[in-house]
Amino acid sequence: MKLENLRKRSAMLRALREFFYAHEFFEAETLVRIPAPAPEEYIEAVSAENGFLRTSPELALKRLLAEGGERFFEIGSAFRSGEHGRKHREEFTILEYYAAHWDYRKLANFTAELFAAAARAVRGSEKTVFRGRELDLSRAEFVTVDEAYRKYAQVSAFDADARGDFDELMVTKVEPELGKSGITFLIDYPAARASLSRLSAADPRVAERWEVYIAGIELGNAFGELVDAAEQKRRFAAAYEFRAAQGMKPYPEPKDFYAALERGIPEASGCAVGVDRLAMILCDADDIGMVRWE
């Protein structure tokens, strides 16, 4: 059973790579041990000798955008301290991809096609069954975060964020309703949850950020990338302050990344996908442990 899943996972990885090559993305490899992780409010890096294990390759790949890389991806290990559950491991496999001059919606459509290609390779069709639920991964829908909160949690996403139960409602009310029969892109997060995405020019109350779901499982997070150096530094400063107040590990500042921002990162969109979770969906497995050799 497990060996069978590992073979399916291999077919999936091959399909993902082939899809990227066919769309003129090259495969990048960046350092797993890094001097300075991006300061995230709720992600803690694993310490390593002379640095940290990366929580994602995000900052390294954004430097590659500044270097003139147009389209590229990376598949590799990432580490997040203390995360363990059915859908979490401290060590997991991450896929990140970036495309200069693509907007975040174009990247979403590309991602839907990427997942469909992976499904065809593993299941022979975009139609698959996960935990008894029939899915058609050739179907993708978009729903804004605010629409989803109003519909499933009976509150606006902005109010939920302001009153402090955004995450609880996400997990208990919203996520279970997403990707019920295919792929759902949950788009346009409240600006307060922009993370490293830029605010929408059309509606500055929201950020150009989406997360993608299949069968209630979050598979990836994407940004219309924030490339404004001053704004980026301001957000990192706020994150460092939050982390210090929470007693989280102090990180050095990512000087190389700041230098790249100042040189100029082109407008771009980027996405990070949990490879193990995509394998769970395509292998019809309900725990990451079923699709990884641990």
């Binding site: 995230e40 409010e41 709720y42 203390g82 995360e83 363990h84 559950g85 059915r86 859908k87 979490h88 955004f166 995450d167 609880e168 996400m170 997990v171 208990t172 996520e175 949850r193 993370s195 997360e211 979050e218 997070n221």
Partner: protein, 188 residues
């Protein structure tokens, strides 16, 4: 006190002065958000279920729960008296707490007690006990099918369903978890 990161399936916790046992547990972390510990739990006294989600900074009370073995000694009016096998300390348990399990108590049966603040809230009997059938319709010889049943009375008046081949005077094994017939031990 427990931290949220201690939570797991099977852990017993206290909420508003009542003991709860976690029956389902999931670590969650919505994109870029805080870790959340989702629990489904059951009230250990009333059996009522509920869902509760904890944050990493939450602290959870530990209940005053003790597990010990006691053996059944004798019935005293509306109470059943159990004794500690080491100290011989006695404990009275009401018929209400035991429910139908009272019919399956045998003298000297070693039972597992879960005590909350010193009071028994859950008593687990030995899984199988043997009892004599004192009253049932005559058996049908040769009919060994167990899916057709008839009522039969135990010496304490409790009625169970048994296969047709069981006779008055037979000794049968009963599963105390379900109160159901398991197999015949001795023919009368």
């Amino acid at each position: 006190m427990y931290s949220a990161s201690d939570l797991k399936k099977g852990l017993k916790i206290e909420i508003d002065g009542a003991p709860w046992i976690i029956t389902e547990f999931e670590f969650c972390k919505p994109g870029k958000g805080t870790a959340l510990y989702r629990c489904r739990m059951k009230n250990m006294i009333t059996g009522i279920g509920m869902e509760k989600t904890y944050r990493p900074t939450d602290k959870i009370d530990t209940p005053d729960i003790e597990e010990r073995e006691m053996y059944y000694s004798y019935k005293d009016g509306n109470h059943y008296v159990f004794s500690d096998p080491n100290t011989y300390e006695e404990m009275q348990v009401s018929a209400e707490t035991l429910g139908d399990q009272a019919y399956f108590l045998l003298e000297e049966s070693l039972c597992n007690f879960v005590l909350y603040k010193g009071e028994p809230i859950e008593i687990t009997l030995p899984t199988f006990i043997e009892k004599e059938i004192v009253e049932t319709e005559p058996g049908v010889r040769g009919d060994t099918a167990t899916n057709v049943t008839k009522p039969a009375k135990l010496d304490n008046g409790f009625e169970i369903q048994v296969p047709l081949f069981i006779n008055q005077g037979d000794i049968v094994k009963i599963d105390t978890r379900t109160g159901k017939y398991a197999e015949r031990v001795n023919k009368a």
